[in-house]
């Protein structure tokens, strides 16, 4: 396709913005206002571009579309190779949707070093868009691992009290995984003599080799998802990250791991994926049940949501590796839904944190009186998180359960059991902060201001909309899933 390089422009636009942000001069106050506006506009343009992309996208065609390719290195055919299919577009849309909201919200939450923050944030957006749209495995690696840098800075500079510890833990963890990923890439490139994902899809690696390659990639992806027992960086990172950081982390960065499984592990190494599927399911089940229990023990709201994220991502990995249509579609749905719901949860906690500077559950009580609108929206979002039918959470979890059950009844049994556990801690949270009246004190907080109401209700509406009309997404990813399943 020789038309306008729309994918490249989606990646380059935020980079350009970051560059401008670095160079602009002026007084601090002016800079922070102007740069925020600049970043906001860039992210809005990105959203428009991605929406345009979705509208032009041909749903019935299961090949990559809007392809752009320039060879960079002839040796291994390493090339600048972009293209999208339904699943990458889904996540690009999620990214393009979350970024403007986050940038808008920084007006209320980021109080210092605005310039540097905007640079990080725009860089992050460019890299995420790159991950979701590139089709060369080396390029993918570069984007995938570079995500670390801006996120590391966001946690380390704008984070809470133990931000240094958390950001290092995050960094080391993720970097450790990437080493193995790199080895796998090098081996694949040298054997298949190509780094293009589409060509690797068609290349057949020896089964024994596949297992090693698969394991190498698995470590890296499992840390990103994160799967049990690679999850312990997440609670710390979330607790220390600023609210917008948490939103991007939970809403997008966790999805990168799941996306990588779908884009690389499954199509390139199908036999190994099949070989390891039971092991992954067991890990996912442990993630779902174990982290639900751990979440129950938390006194810190952000930690609780972070642990619940691990449990929810457990449904994703379980769904993907059930290798059934229901499971994979459910996993994609669950990722999108979790992207919306967990972002909204972190946002809600952010709203509360700004009012009191506390994340402890015990510091809040009876919000329903002083913040009725917040309480209402928060309950809607919590219900979506526990997978009440009619919300997006339900569809994802239901389909994952159906898929896993088809694969293996006992696994399905445990995955379904997670639904009971999830409700316990989330409802306990609601009871504690929204309804309970503490005799010693009653938290009287300022109700959400108009823009906060708008942002939070946008999330709530989206979640319900997806829950009532899941077909919009399910149809969209239909051809992708069928093509993926041809491998098995």
């Amino acid at each position: 396709m020789n038309s306008f390089p729309i994918l490249s422009s989606i990646i380059i636009l935020p980079l350009f913005g970051a560059l401008v942000a670095m160079l602009v001069k002026g007084s601090d106050k002016e800079i922070s206002k102007n740069l925020r506006d600049l970043a906001l506009w860039i992210s809005i343009v990105e959203l428009i571009l991605v929406v345009l992309l979705c509208l032009q996208f041909d749903q019935s065609n299961d090949n990559f579309q809007f392809v752009e390719k320039t060879v960079l290195l002839t040796k291994f055919n390493i090339s600048y190779f972009l293209g999208v299919d339904a699943v990458s577009l889904t996540f690009m849309l999620l990214t393009a949707f979350l970024f403007p909201l986050c940038i808008y919200y920084t007006k209320l939450s980021i109080k210092y070093r605005t310039r540097e923050f905007m640079v990080c944030f725009l860089l992050l957006q460019a890299l995420v868009m790159g991950v979701f749209s590139c089709l060369d495995i080396v390029l993918f690696y570069i984007f995938f691992e570079s995500l670390l840098i801006p996120m590391f800075l966001i946690i380390g500079i704008w984070g809470g009290k133990r931000r240094i510890f958390a950001s290092y833990k995050f960094f080391i963890y993720t970097l450790a995984g990437s080493v193995f990923f790199l080895i796998s890439i090098i081996v694949m490139a040298s054997i298949a003599n190509t780094t293009s994902i589409t060509e690797l899809d068609n290349y057949y690696f020896d089964i024994e080799l596949q297992k090693w390659l698969w394991l190498g990639m698995f470590v890296s992806f499992a840390i990103k998802v994160p799967m049990w027992p690679f999850h312990t960086w997440l609670p710390d990172a979330h607790v220390e990250a600023p609210t917008v950081g948490s939103i991007i982390l939970a809403g997008i960065l966790l999805k990168v791991g799941g996306y990588a499984f779908l884009r690389l592990s499954l199509p390139i190494l199908p036999s190994a994926s099949f070989y390891f599927s039971e092991a992954i399911l067991i890990l996912s089940i442990i993630a779902i049940i174990y982290t639900s229990f751990v979440a129950m023990a938390q006194d810190d709201m952000k930690k609780m949501i972070a642990y619940s994220s691990v449990a929810h991502m457990g449904y994703v990995t379980a769904g993907i590796f059930s290798l059934t249509e229901a499971g994979i579609k459910g996993a994609i749905f669950q990722m999108l839904s979790h992207g919306i719901v967990s972002s909204a949860l972190f946002l809600s906690i952010g709203f509360l944190y700004e009012r009191t500077n506390s994340r402890q559950i015990k510091d809040y009580s009876f919000l329903v009186k002083s913040m009725p609108v917040f309480s209402f929206l928060f309950i809607v979002i919590v219900l979506s998180s526990v997978g009440l039918p009619g919300t997006s959470g339900f569809i994802g979890e239901l389909m994952s359960v159906l898929g896993v059950y088809k694969f293996n009844s006992i696994f399905g049994f445990f995955v379904a059991f997670g639904l009971v556990l999830g409700a316990i801690y989330m409802l306990r949270l609601v009871r504690q902060i929204v309804f309970t009246i503490e005799a010693r004190k009653e938290t009287t907080l300022k109700e959400l201001i108009f823009s906060e109401k708008i942002i939070l209700s946008l999330f709530a509406i989206l979640s319900i909309l997806l829950g009532l009309m899941p077909n919009i997404l399910l149809r969209f990813i239909d051809s992708f899933t069928l093509k993926l399943l041809l491998n098995f």
Binding site: A326, V368, V420, P470
Partner: protein, 636 residues
């Protein structure tokens, strides 16, 4: 717009308008509009019920979920079963809406209350008109959510909050069963729509599935899990603990949700899935005994409760047990008949209790009442009607439905069904005892109310009397009005499936007259004994304590279910999760994982640091050693 669609949409519209009224703080508008809309919906349901032929069909609203070859619609599947449920739900809901206008008149948050109430009605209608398992689940969870919100309506009371959460979580255990059942059906039948599943049940009749290296019959497994869901929703033994606590909600809510509609959803589920249940005799037997145990157990606990609403709540549990054992002996239409009559007389009892509570300014313990028949004669009359219907005295509604179940059970001449008869009679006896006790303490016994308050007790306003009157009509004449449900199986068309097509009324007629009289005799005897002993024996309760000490303690503690669950699922669960977090997550994974590894790296690095000591001499030695090694590799 289709007529039947409107029945469902009107309550939703009511909920939306009341929701807007919450924001606009217009309580009166909310209550008037939502009540009118639900009443309209009730009238339309009655119309549909009486001209059923015209309306039977499956209306698809839109396609909800589609993947692979599974396609699930939002639809309104109108068949006789749906239409009778429509009637029950909308009529009771309309009556409760009207009653609430009076009952809640001094509450500042009425708009919210009416919003939830209408939303509940909508969810319940969605539940009963579904044509597939998933839409049913939507309604199922929807009513659970509304129940959660309504039980916790008085959110400033901690007990109300705890009860709300308890109800939701206990029901989640049932939902887990439902989810597994869905997954099983999807795996083997590859569809989730009722008609397609029911059509192919026969082919799976002998199908075995293995689980943990045991072989089970597929249909049995599916139905057992479905029944687990029903046990949760319908508060059968084991998962019954939420229902008595749910009485923390406002009384009209108890009448609508915890007596007439939501708790019967479990029975509805079993009846709706009768084609599945019929093929598993094991599950049917299981249902029979769970029903029997619950009916006796709950009635026994009700004997010694002092809270007027808790007695009625346990009574509901017990009556739901009757419906379940009717299902267990394949008498689904009798179960539905009892469901309908029970909805009327139990809602009547609850609302009458509500008007007593209202008149006494939220006093619920009937040990603190007495002699109220002087002050509340109209309410007294309604409580008597409700109690007579509940205990099954002819010609009240309960007599028709309950005794028919018992008579039919006896006519079947199997071991299970004979047990049903025996324990059903025992249950009726216990029912009569606690009903009489409630009546006696509330309306007769010596008044414990201070005279100043007693003087001002007034009958509730008309807006609360009229609903009682409507329900009383149902409780008195319900047996005749709905007799066609059982008289003639053709009413149900295909909506209920039984392996042997039996006319229950015919069968029930064949038993000896004496057996027909036994339940009534038992009830009347109980009535006389209890009333007599309270009237004429001094200190009856202390004497009872003396002679039946252990038993009364057990009953007062509700057979220790709550304390056991509290210990296991509240205390131990938290301990366990704390253990996992501190020991496993922080202790093992973190310490052995990242922190351990980085500590090791640091430690190793300190060794290497010793090499970098800055002395030229030692560097020279290392260089020389290096050259020797390389040279060695090169030459050999």
């Amino acid at each position: 717009m289709n007529y039947t669609v409107l029945i469902i949409l009107l309550p939703l519209l009511g909920a939306v308008i009341s929701g807007l009224c919450i924001i606009g703080k217009r309580n009166i508008l909310a209550e008037v509009i939502s009540t009118l809309l639900v009443c309209l919906s009730a009238l339309m349901s009655i119309h549909v019920y009486f001209s059923l032929e015209k309306f039977i069909k499956n209306i698809t609203i839109y396609e909800w979920i589609k993947f692979s070859d599974l396609s699930l619609n939002f639809s309104i599947y109108l068949d006789p079963l749906t239409s009778i449920m429509f009637c029950v739900v909308t009529i009771v809901s309309a009556v409760v809406h009207i009653f609430s206008i009076g009952y809640m008149h001094s509450d500042k948050f009425r708009a919210r209350f009416f919003c939830y109430l209408s939303l509940f009605t909508f969810a319940m209608l969605i539940l009963v008109c579904s044509d597939n398992f998933i839409q049913l689940f939507l309604g199922w969870e929807g009513v659970g959510l509304c129940s959660y919100l309504l039980v916790g309506f008085y959110f400033h009371k901690p007990s109300a909050n705890n009860a709300a959460i308890k109800a939701f979580l206990v029901n989640r255990v049932g939902d887990f069963g439902y989810l597994i059942a869905i997954a099983l059906i999807y795996k083997y039948f590859n569809t989730l729509s009722f008609s397609e599943v029911f059509q192919s049940v026969y082919t799976f009749k002998e199908y075995k599935v293995s689980f943990l290296s045991n072989e089970f019959n597929l249909i049995t497994v599916i139905t057992m899990f479905l029944f687990l869901a029903a046990v949760g929703k319908s508060a059968q033994i084991g998962l019954h603990v939420w229902l008595p606590d749910a009485m923390e909600g406002p009384t009209p809510v108890s009448a609508l949700i915890h007596a007439a509609t939501m708790v019967t959803a479990g029975v509805f589920l079993v009846v709706r899935c009768s084609p599945l249940f019929e093929y598993s005799q094991f599950t049917l037997n299981f249902i029979t005994y769970i029903g029997i145990i619950t009916s006796i157990f709950a009635a026994s606990v009700a004997l010694l409760q002092d809270d007027i609403k808790k007695v009625i709540a346990y009574s509901t549990c017990s009556q739901l047990g009757y419906m379940f054992f009717a299902c267990g002996i394949s008498a689904y239409s009798l179960a539905m008949f009892h469901l309908v009559t029970h909805a009327f007389f139990k809602a009547l009892l609850f609302l009458a209790a509500g008007s007593v509570i209202h008149s006494l300014h939220h006093e619920q313990n009937f040990k603190n009442m007495g002699e109220l028949y002087k002050k509340l004669p109209i309410t007294y009359f309604f409580v008597i009607v409700g109690s007579l219907a509940l205990t099954g005295i002819p010609p009240f509604a309960g007599y028709f439905s309950k005794d028919l179940i018992l008579e039919f059970a006896l006519s079947k001449h199997t071991f299970n069904s004979t047990n049903v008869y025996i324990f059903g009679c025992l249950g009726a006896f216990l029912t009569a005892i606690y009903s009489t006790r409630l009546l006696y303490f509330t309306f007769h016994g010596k008044s414990k109310i201070s005279p100043t308050i007693f003087k001002d007790i007034k009958e509730p306003p008309y807006v609360m009397i009229v609903p009682l009157f409507i329900l009383a009509i149902g409780a008195i004449f319900g047996g005749y009005i709905f007799y066609n449900l059982v008289y003639d199986n053709s009413f149900w068309k295909d909506s209920i499936f039984t392996l042997n097509n039996i006319n229950y009324v015919e069968e029930a007629h064949h038993i000896d007259k004496i057996f027909k009289l036994i339940p009534i005799i038992l009830v009347v005897t109980a009535f006389i004994i209890v009333f007599g002993s309270y009237k004429f024996i001094q200190d009856l309760s202390s004497k009872l304590n003396k002679y039946f000490g252990t038993l009364t303690v057990i009953l007062k503690n509700k057979w220790y279910f709550d304390s056991m669950y509290n210990y296991l699922f509240v205390k131990k669960l938290l301990d366990f999760s704390k253990f996992l977090w501190t020991s496993v997550d922080i202790g093992i994974i973190d310490l052995k994982g990242p922190i351990g590894v980085s500590a090791k790296v640091m430690k190793t690095a300190t060794y290497f640091r010793k090499i970098q000591n800055g002395k030229i001499f030692s560097y020279a030695i290392f260089m020389f050693a290096g050259i020797v090694v390389f040279a060695g590799i090169l030459f050999f």
